[in-house]
Symmetry: C2
């Protein structure tokens, strides 16, 4: 049965040229990582869910791809009430009490709790509530409106429902005439004559699926593994798990794919590579210095000149927040400051005001808005602004140290720039924050970033292990190199020579030469099918042209007799007879 083939959204196939170009970038980064003393590790594509969940915030957790347990996974779901969500437990208790209430109110003996589930569901839908927190709100609503008991809650439901779900359910439960009387009594109006046995079944199933377990609980029970979301958390896990085998400080690099259930868009994929280098086990600022050199080396080697390596320090941001009396609003403050480039000074101030930062505080920021010029002059300005903050002064000291070292050592083609608006994953970083911007001639977001984090491994039980690391954004670097035409022409290790196949005798003669050429490291190919007429010969020649293979070798009776090969340059059109050793020499 033929299927129209496609791939999942946000994923990509790579053809030989793309693989070659990507490998060119990977190899440049890998080579530089290694000369800088980093060593490779690899971790599994999927980790235990508990390793990943809760490490990336709610938004990140939502984007983690979960792997369904293999085998008969539903049979392993735990149905014990104790393991149900609070919400479900609450439903049970609530329904029980409602049963009693109903008896009192309408003098009608309910047969089962289950008959009340739809009633309750209706209540929930009226309030658009799906969880225990909203249920509390409902209770509050009743309290505020002067209702004090479950009786009141129930009356409210009975008086107000308009949704025919309840009619359906009641009809479904009671397929006999009596239901009409009872329902009419409850509702004060005639019930629909609705035959919804199947609908009722559906409702029960839906309740079963949607309400017994909340989604995250069900997911936990049918999925225990997840595709890695980044390389940092698996690295932290690795460091803790293997701490007894690792000699610290540990400099590792890791180039592997990660997966995110993000909405795909231009330049954002659901599967993409990260290229990370990190050092753990030392607080030395020389590492920040070396990472700047590393960025400079990689981009210079890629001939991508003119990148800007932006640097900031968490302590600077904390210091500023402290100075303006907004230490408790550090996130709000940095989020607003981060927008300076985009929305301008006035809007940033407005946003800060709206977040409760005082006019007085904001006025102290004034020098920040006009902070330009050299690294050194910015440092001087910051000294003024941060004179009263110990943490801020520490940040300045760190930045100055790094800048002086870099000035001494020099950068090849990159520029180091202080950017006090740079925040990135602020909650994560505790010291230096890095971001690399592509040359200004290209429209592109950051092509790299990183920073220092003082306590990553403590989530896995190893506290006090400072780390600092950087990452390269492969896909964006690829786009930049493509746009600027910076991929070397030789990047695609194409086949260099194709042997035309005239028949079995000739093919065998060719394969003797092909064997020697391959031994000499020359990518060589025999056209697999034999050409028995000139049209087929032309087809083989065309094959070489279509695949941009520069040389073709022709060997027929004449060549076999003279033990030579005719080498044809497909670009110049030249061709000449050569011996096997001349052939190898020529193509080498």
């Amino acid at each position: 049965m033929a299927q129209k083939p496609s791939i999942p959204k946000g994923t990509r196939d790579f053809n030989p040229e793309q693989v070659a170009k990507r490998n060119y970038i990977f190899n440049t980064i890998r080579g530089t990582f290694e000369t800088f003393g980093f060593q490779p590790i690899e971790t599994p594509s999927f980790e235990n869910s508990e390793t990943l969940m809760g490490k990336y915030g709610d938004e990140g957790d939502r984007l983690i791809f979960k792997i369904l347990n293999s085998g008969d996974y539903l049979s392993k779901v735990n149905y014990e009430i104790d393991n149900f969500s609070d919400f479900s437990k609450q439903i049970g208790t609530f329904i029980q009490s409602l049963c009693g209430e109903l008896d009192e109110i309408i003098g009608f003996k309910l047969r089962s709790q289950v008959e009340l589930i739809p009633l309750y569901k209706n209540l929930l839908e009226d309030f658009e509530i799906r969880n225990i927190y909203n249920m509390i709100k409902v209770n509050e609503f009743f309290r505020i409106n002067g209702f004090e008991t479950n009786t009141a809650m129930l009356r409210y439901v009975i008086d107000n429902f308009e949704n025919d779900l309840l009619y359906k359910s009641f009809n479904a439960i009671r397929t006999r005439d009596e239901i009409s009387d009872v329902a009419t009594k409850i509702l004060g109006k005639p019930v629909y004559n609705y035959t919804v046995n199947q609908d009722f079944l559906k409702e029960i199933y839906k309740i079963g699926l949607l309400n017994i377990l909340d989604l995250s609980q069900l997911s936990d029970q049918i999925s225990e593994k997840a595709l890695r979301y980044d390389l940092t958390v698996p690295f932290a896990r690795y460091v803790v798990q293997h701490q007894n085998e690792i000699e610290f400080p540990f400099k590792r690099y890791q180039i592997q794919p990660v997966w995110r259930a993000d909405r795909p868009q231009k330049g954002r994929f659901r599967e993409f590579y990260q290229c990370d280098a990190d050092v753990v086990g030392s607080k030395s600022l020389w590492q920040e210095v070396e990472f700047i050199q590393l960025y400079d080396t990689v981009f210079s080697t890629l001939k991508l000149e003119g990148v800007t390596i932006k640097i900031n320090n968490r302590k600077i941001l904390s210091g500023i927040a402290e100075v303006i009396g907004a230490s408790d609003k550090l996130i709000d403050f940095t989020v607003a400051l981060d927008k300076l480039d985009k929305i301008g000074e006035e809007k940033v101030k407005e946003e800060m005001l709206s977040k409760g930062i005082s006019e007085e505080g904001i006025s102290k920021l004034q020098p920040l808005f006009t902070l330009t010029g050299s690294f050194e002059s910015q440092i001087e300005s910051l000294k003024g602004i941060l004179s009263t903050s110990e943490e801020g002064k520490k940040g300045i000291e760190e930045l100055a140290f790094i800048n002086e070292a870099i000035s001494e050592l020099g950068l090849k083609t990159a520029t180091l720039q202080l950017d006090v608006t740079l925040a990135r994953g602020l909650n994560y970083y505790t010291g230096a924050i890095f971001e690399v911007a592509a040359p200004k001639t290209v429209q592109m977001g950051s092509i790299g970033g990183g920073g220092r984090y003082d306590d990553l491994t403590s989530i896995f039980g190893k506290p006090d292990t400072s780390g600092v690391g950087i990452s390269f954004g492969l896909d964006r670097i690829y786009l930049v190199l493509e746009e600027l035409g910076l991929f070397p022409e030789t990047v695609n290790k194409n086949v260099e020579v194709l042997f035309i196949n005239f028949g079995d005798k000739e093919a065998l003669f060719c394969l003797k030469a092909i064997k020697e050429l391959r031994l000499a490291g020359i990518n060589t190919e025999l056209y697999p099918d034999k050409a028995t007429n000139s049209k087929q010969i032309r087809k083989q020649m065309d094959h070489a042209n279509k695949r941009n293979i520069q040389f073709v070798v022709i060997a027929g009776d004449e060549e076999i007799a003279s033990n030579t090969y005719t080498l044809k340059n497909m670009i110049s059109g030249e061709q000449f007879k050569v011996s096997l050793s001349e052939l190898v020499d020529h193509l080498k």
Copy 2:
């Protein structure tokens, strides 16, 4: 909150040494693939489920890792009865009819279908039935036993159930006294006084989860993507999807991980790499010849000498089956023949007999059991055995062609061997079948395999595209190289030189040299933290030793003053002062 870190079973972390060794194998294979004219492609880690499912047999399908849809996946589950499984629809109909029957039998007005679900469930459990097919069997059971109506089915259930599930359910539904009377009447014995409101809820939920949708249907609705199981099916999908961009014959290689939910065991993992090379779009046997050369080249380059490349042909197996009158038992026949090495001639014959292959047929196999000696002499024997089978003779012709070409071209270190018992994925292959055995000195299964398949891409709508390919078993090759000590000593691109850090001034002086060394491609590192006493200096020296870094550079006041560096060989203990350029020369 500290978690004890671990990784999912069947997966692995790779430390720097392991990564280096694996890359050594990968690079050797990759380099050889390229000199043989193969070009790399890469496909996404996960494919749409429909691309993978149904391609690997039931057993394979079961081992495919499915990815849970992201977001609120349960809300997208389709609850329409029309989309329920046949089983669920059948439940609905069946329950409706049972309702009527019950009324007649016990004169009891059932309130709802739902009250019968547990009854029905009980019936199902008695018969260990879970699907519509088994339900048909139940009906058959009744028919055979002389019951002809649903009344009879119901009586059977009522008379026979012992499972307290039903008691519970009835109790749960009818929480009032009347249930006792009714239930006692139905059951002919007193019901338990069971207060199981919550239990009832649980049962409903369980029914909802387990019975509305059968497992595969639910999986289809909550999972639409799956991790690739091999590289062949994604390659077939790639070829069809990109057929207009591809110039055929298409020679591609692919080195990527695959995932299988196999039971992990020694040498078998849930995540592992496959290294595949395939040609599609040509039936030329020269490709078989080249693949044998390729195996020989890779293993010779890895210094793994003495591997045996076994070859067989599907047409030989079909021919033999034809000759012995067992064409319809090709699989049984080859499965038995495949065991010749393990269980011996007599047992193989017994197995064939037990599978219904005739004595006469088996007697014709006699020459096969003693088939030894050179490729050529085996070919001669086969000619005798297969003289009446056109297909068999075609197979012989193909094998002879390949063998003659290889004899002419020669192999470096491998041996080509005809093995008529070789079957591998028989249903898959249509011509040549390959398997590579490690040298006899090592206990290891096959380290590679492949074959020709004539119609792989037709499942994706592109028929008549012949392909042939081989694969390398990375993990087993790794184990073999490890066991035989064949990894080169230089495989691990370790850091070559560590600079001792005496303080900021010295570190800066060192970094000037480090920059030059790295430029020269020498893996170089500065110890990040400064040593302020001799104990700390010793610690830095120890760090070099523990990491097998051969050289250490020491640069203190004296060296700075004379603009030199002291280079110490950690193995010989020698040390001497050198200038920067001498340092680079020495380490280069």
